[in-house]
Every structure is written in C-alpha cells, then in structure tokens.
C-alpha cells in the first residue's frame, strides 16, 4: 500500500505533462510499473479519474500509445461493460476497431469482451450496428493474427451469450433477456452480411490484395464450425437472397455453402484448397461431438 501514493502522484504529474504537451515522450517503463503495482491497490475514485483522464489523452498522443493502453486495460479489469459505458468517457468503439489503429484494437476488444458476460450487455453491442460492422471488418481484415483471433473469439462469445434457448428444451438455461439480437445483427443485417461475403469472395472489387482475401477466407473457415455448433440454421439459411446471388452459383444456400463451395478457388490456390479440406474435417468432427455431448 505504501507504494501507491508516491506512484499515484508521479502518475498525475506525468499525465499533466502529457495533457499540456501531447508530443511528450511516454515513460514506458513507468507505465509498466503502474500496470504491475498501481492496478492492484488504487482506490476506486482515483482509478475512475485516471481512466477518464487517460481516455481524453489517448486520442491526442503523438507517440506509440501501447504502454498507456496496456495500463488502461489493467485498470479497467474490475469493471463490467455497463460500468464502462456509464463512465461517460465517450468511447468511440467503431474508430478504435479500425484495422489501421492496431494499438487501439486490443483496448477496444478488451472492452467489447466485457459485453460477453451476459445477454443484456451483448444486446447493447448488437444495438450499435457500426460497432458490429467494425468488429467483423477487423476480424477479417486485420494484418495482426493475434488481434484477428481475439476479434473472432469476441464475436463468437457475443453470439454464444445471446443464444436463444431452444424451444421446449429445459437444458442449459441461458441468461435471462436473451433475444438473439446479436444473431439478428450479424446474420440479419444486410450490410454486415454483405461485408462478410464481399471481403471473402474473390469476385468482389473491394480494395484488398489476394493474400488479404485468403487470410479473411481462412478466418471465416475457422469460425464457421464453432458457429454451426451454436446454431446450424444460421449458417445454412439464405438470409439475403439478393446479396448471396451475387457471390454464389445459386446451387446452395447460406454462408456455409458460400464458404464451402464458392469462396475458394480450388483450381488455382493450392494452399486454400488444403485449408478447405481441413475445414471439412473440422466441421464434421465438431458438429458430431456437439451432438454427442447433448
């Protein structure tokens, strides 16, 4: 406890410096020790004021903000999603999830992950289409594999917590107020559905290189079996015929058919063909095991 106050004073002083001159060099080691020591002992009112100040400083910084972001993630650990929205820090989720703002991505994903705690919080995310769109785009397009994985997990966890209980089955009671809003957002929202298809399809004219496209394809293939386990109909139903018809050959329906049959250029892309067959093996194994567990 003794170390808290001097450290807190130093932190206040450093923050003042940064507020007055955003080009000040960040003291990375200092933030690191703050993350380790201060986050354990800081009183709640002090923590909230530091969070508010940091979130105001962050957008103005002209140096690499990673140490501050690490510290902020640690500070936010004890708070849940509604606490964070109530902080009134004016968090711009969509901007923070832009794949070009790599250091901010982890902070935003850490915040969004808090919404996976219950269906009410997940529905708050679902009610903000621009946030879900940015999350999906980040997942498919970010060049950083770790961020992509984190985004994929967050998206999956949001869907899982928002799972509607199957009618008539008393098993695995789901959190109250679950209305499947997240499912409706991801699969029912035309813009998001079109985004997934256009990013992954080789037919689209989106400004992505072929290697970026194949990365996105591989991420979609990895994600689909897990979603299929949660809700098979969601990935095999044609939610928006007018959009799907642009990207598939019309012989099947749903995101799964697009991914399994139309997305990959098996004649030309050997490595993606390899991924595709591994995806088939993964799909039949996961679905069978999920059935078996029920």
């Amino acid at each position: 406890m003794a170390a808290t106050e001097p450290l807190l004073d130093q932190l206040q002083a450093h923050l003042e410096q940064l507020e007055s001159d955003p080009s000040t060099e960040l003291n990375a080691r200092f933030f690191e020790s703050c993350s380790l020591i201060l986050t354990q002992t800081i009183p709640q009112d002090a923590s909230i004021s530091v969070i508010t100040r940091l979130s105001k400083i962050l957008p103005t910084l002209q140096t690499d903000p990673t140490p501050v972001i690490q510290f902020l993630i640690q500070l936010l650990q004890p708070y849940n999603f509604s606490d964070i929205l109530a902080l009134d820090a004016g968090i711009d989720f969509a901007a923070g999830l832009d794949e070009r703002a790599l250091p901010y991505n982890r902070l935003m994903l850490a915040l969004l992950h808090k919404a996976t705690a219950n269906a009410t919080d997940a529905s708050l995310v679902a009610a903000r289409p621009e946030v879900v769109t940015a999350l999906v785009k980040l997942w498919l397009c970010t060049p950083d594999a770790g961020v992509a994985q984190q985004a994929s997990n967050t998206l999956l966890a949001l869907l899982r917590v928002d799972q509607q209980s199957p009618p008539g089955s008393g098993e695995d009671p789901l959190p109250a107020h679950s209305q499947g809003l997240m499912w409706k957002r991801v699969f029912g929202d035309q813009d998001i559905y079109a985004l997934v298809l256009s990013v992954c399809s080789l037919k689209s004219i989106l400004q992505l290189s072929k290697s970026q496209k194949t990365l996105a394809q591989a991420r979609l293939l990895e994600w689909l079996p897990a979603v299929g386990v949660l809700n098979w109909n969601a990935i095999t139903k044609n939610h928006h015929p007018n959009i799907e018809s642009q990207y598939t050959d019309g012989k099947g329906e749903g995101l799964l058919y697009f991914a399994a049959s139309c997305m990959v250029d098996v004649k030309d892309d050997v490595l993606m063909h390899r991924c595709l067959i591994e995806f088939f093996a993964d799909l039949i194994t996961k679905i069978k095991q999920a059935e078996h567990a029920r």
Binding site: S165, G180, E278, I284, K288
Partner: protein, 368 residues
C-alpha cells in the same frame, strides 16, 4: 438500419443439430454429401491416380484428404461401414502399406495411412465372415503391419486398435455396451494378429529394451499397457444376420492357424497366456535399462532411459491393478501368487531392488 435489420426475423430459428436424416449421419455430413464435397474431399486420398487431379495439387492436398477420411471414419462409423468408401479405403490401405521391411524400419513412416487405419471402425478390419481358413487374415490391412522391423507409428497404431473403444467405457465394466461390436472386434483382431505374428511379444520386449530408440521403446510399452487395460468382449456364439455382419466366435477360430493360442476374454489374461507369458512378465519384473554402465551415460540418454523406465513401471502397476481386481472376482484361480510377485516388484520402485552395484554411478549423475 434498425428496421431493415430486424424485419422478417421476428423468430430467429434455433439450433437444430439433432434433427438429421439418419442416426449415423449429422447435418454437417449430410450437407457435404449433398453438395458432393464429401466425395471430392475423399477422392484425393482414395483415387490419387485420377487424371482429374493436378499432380502438384495432390502433393499438398493428400494429407488433408487423409485427415478428412480419418475424421469421417472415426466420427461416423455407421455411415462409413455402409458405403463403398469402406472397400475403397481398405483397398487403398492395402496398396500403401505394402512396404518392404527396410522401408518400414528406415524410410519415413506412412503416417497418414496409419492414422486412417487407427481411425477406422475395428469391425471393418476383420476379414469378411464368408471367408474361410487362416488366409482370410491377409485381406485385412492390419495384417500388413510388421512388429519386427517397424517404427513407433506402427506400434502406436497396434496399441490403438488393440485398446478397444475408449469412449464407451464404464466403471465397473459392464457387458451391456450400447454397441459391443467395437469391443468384440478389438479382441478378435488382437488374436488374429498374434496368431499370425507369434513373435509379437518377443519383438515388443526387444523394442522396449532398446532405450536408445526412445520413441520405439515407449510405443512398445504402450502396446503392452493398451492390452492390459483393453476394453474387450467375446464375439457372439450365434451369427445374427444383421447389417453389421459381425462374425462369430466360430469364425474367429476358423481364421486362426492350427493350433491356435488360447483366446481368453480379457486383455490381462491374454498377457498372462502364452506366447506373451514368457516375454512380458519377465520383462516387466526385470530392473529397467540404464546407461549407468557406460562412461558418461548421463544427460540426454539418461533422460530417455528414465522415461522408458517410468513408462515400464506404470505398465507394471496397471497390470498389478487389473490382476488384483481379477483375483478378487475369481479367487482360487492362482492369480494371487502373480499379484504378490508384482506387488513385491512394485515395492522396489522403478529402478528395481537396491544393491545392484549401481549406487556409485547414480551419485555421479546426481552431481550434474
């Protein structure tokens, strides 16, 4: 945005995984079959010479295709047994496992094929019940696996097949399995393999004592433990005409060469019956191999000796545990004596009884 998103989706369909066309399939397999993706994924493994395949493609896609087949056969045994894929797979395995002894021992192991072999329903590895005589065994790809000039993957495959089904084990063991065919086939395959390879245990012990080849030695010990804990059942006495065409105990005896070995009901008893008896028990009771008689036999090599010795000690404890249960169930059968011998050996610890003149070198090892 809000309106567009929610229109027409007032009741989002819930999951429907169990509502599939047949008990042997699943929605995902049905999907792949309907869109002919299942056949395409298998064709790279089952039909590699098809001119439709690009040879370059094949190099990359062969392994995933084999992996898909293994996932399919192990997750959907009922579906697999009732399609032509079964015969094609057996034919293909027959071709790819037909290797010379030196290739088995020294070339790269055919690991994809072995993985498939280990994933197949054991029933498909039994000879067809219409075949007679001991040559029937040669129709099974399992008959091609060598135990003498071999590699660790082969031994692991044998261990997996002999082990029997792991997923339907209960404690205490019950005779009323939902589908006993796997447990029955595992036992039949063991006796078929053993009778056509009477040197099996001699070879296993030799591999297990070659500590320098660590993976061989560990795999050989693993075969012994798998037999000790095997989930086995006897084949039915009477043939029931069903879709599974399970052979009977009479079929099994007709496939074995004359005179056949004893065919006890459980793996523990199989280890105590000849030809295992004269190799396995003496091996387990001997102190393990060390390198302490070789100057400088420490470090990595000692490490491998240690791993093999602990695996061997575990095998000993497993055998003791299983046999003790047997002795309690059936007192007066003479098991008690063996249990006592095993117990005394276990009390000596993994490195065997003291006073074997190895103390000096052990201290030298400890200094490091």
């Amino acid at each position: 945005m809000q309106g567009k998103c929610f229109a027409g989706l007032s009741s989002f369909p819930s999951r429907k995984l169990t509502n599939h066309s047949s008990i042997n399939s699943s929605v995902s397999l049905d999907f792949l079959v309907t869109h002919r993706l299942h056949d395409r994924a298998l064709s790279f493994y089952l039909d590699p010479t098809n001119p439709k395949h690009d040879p370059l493609d094949l190099q990359f896609v062969y392994a995933p295709s084999a992996k898909y087949l293994a996932a399919y056969a192990s997750n959907y045994p009922g579906h697999f047994l009732n399609t032509s894929v079964k015969d094609q797979t057996l034919l293909r395995l027959g071709q790819s496992l037909d290797l010379s002894p030196s290739r088995w021992a020294h070339a790269e192991s055919p690991k994809h094929d072995l993985n498939i072999l280990a994933s197949l329903p054991r029933l498909s590895l039994l000879p067809k019940s219409t075949l007679q005589g001991s040559s029937a065994w040669n129709t099974s790809p399992l008959s091609m696996l060598p135990s003498k000039s071999t590699n660790a993957d082969v031994l692991e495959t044998l261990a997996t097949v002999f082990r029997g089904p792991v997923d339907q084990e209960t404690y205490p063991p019950t005779k009323n399995l939902k589908d006993p065919s796997e447990a029955q086939s595992a036992r039949a395959l063991y006796f078929l393999y053993l009778n056509h390879n009477p040197r099996l245990f001699e070879d296993l012990v030799k591999h297990a004592e070659t500590v320098a080849l660590e993976s061989h030695a560990l795999a050989a010990v693993h075969v012994i433990t798998s037999i000790a804990v095997a989930n086995w059942q006897s084949l039915p006495e009477e043939s029931k005409e069903g879709p599974s065409h399970l052979p009977t105990e009479r079929h099994l005896l007709s496939w074995l060469p004359n005179p056949p070995t004893a065919t006890p009901e459980s793996g523990v008893l199989a280890l105590l019956a000849p030809p295992s008896l004269e190799h396995t028990l003496p091996y387990l009771l001997r102190p393990p191999q060390t390198f302490s008689n070789i100057v400088g036999g420490v470090g990595d090599t000692q490490n491998s000796a240690y791993k093999v010795a602990t695996a061997k000690f575990d095998a000993l404890k497993i055998l003791h545990g299983r046999l003790e249960e047997k002795a309690i169930q059936e007192p007066g059968q003479g098991y008690e004596e063996i249990v006592e011998t095993l117990r005394r050996r276990i009390a000596d610890g993994p490195w065997g009884s003291k006073g074997q003149g190895q103390v000096g070198t052990s201290i030298a090892t400890m200094e490091l």
